[in-house]
Amino acid sequence: MKSKFAAEPDRVIHEPARLKIMSVLSVLDCADFVYLMGETELTRGNLSVQLRRLEAAGYIFVSKEFRGRVPRTIATITDAGRKAFKSYRAYLRRLLKATSEMNVRSNAVAETG
């Protein structure tokens, strides 16, 4: 029988910094670099790297525009990204449910034993 813990999470989203970015973008139309930095509390370099990873995976779309001489990097979650994030949330829910079921069973065994 296949274990309930056998399923693998999406490695791209599973990393904490990228999970933060995806969580924020999943509830927005779009956000720029500065806003994401404030929300995720990631450093400029780290956020830059993680955005590139997510873009490479096709989970977000990054566009760059100039306001005067100031660049603005805008990130938008793609449909694939939204779907992947939804699956990831479902995975976490399943995992937590399986864990609580195991706890109930082990408590029952401890009581009878």
Partner: protein, 212 residues
Amino acid sequence: MNEIRAARRRAQRYRFSDGIGELVTGSVLALIGTGFLISDALNSDTLRIVSLGVAFALALLGFLTVRFLKEWITYPRTGYVRPPKPRLTYPQRLGLNVLFLLIVMPFIHEYFGPALDADTPTGRVAFLGWVAVMVAPIAVMAVRFGIYRLLFVVGTALAIGGAAVLLHTPGGEMIGSLFALTGASAVITGTCALHGYLRAHPRSELDSDHEI
């Protein structure tokens, strides 16, 4: 999951965080109110029509000013975000359209304008109802997004509306003073919010233009 909901809520209230919207809208309202008061004092119909035209121009200019100020003050400091547009149901859309019509009707229809005259008991009730309809969306927004300073603006509008009715102020003067003083209260709350925002996010915190 609560964190995700909180992120959405923060994005929704973000547009109010700097007070720029209130400051500009309040200034426009105050100018419109002053225009009404002057045209009423001079008893000039031409000036009244000009005031109305200027009011629409100022409303458009106000919108552009808010955008410009946000580009210049807010976005470089705390960034730009666009929360998802609320998906309104058909009754909600209908309600908003009715609300809009109720608010603008006294300005565009000669029957509804005099209906707000404080000389008649019906006019007084209509005027108070009109004020309540006008500030209701602001009150809902204030409570929903937790921007409680907007309740000060709502309170001012209701107090001025009530006072104008009790003092039997003539129609034009009533609307003029309502707009001017409500606008002034919005300018006060907006200025306080902007001051707090600028203190919390000084420009010097930003280092370079490099992003990605």
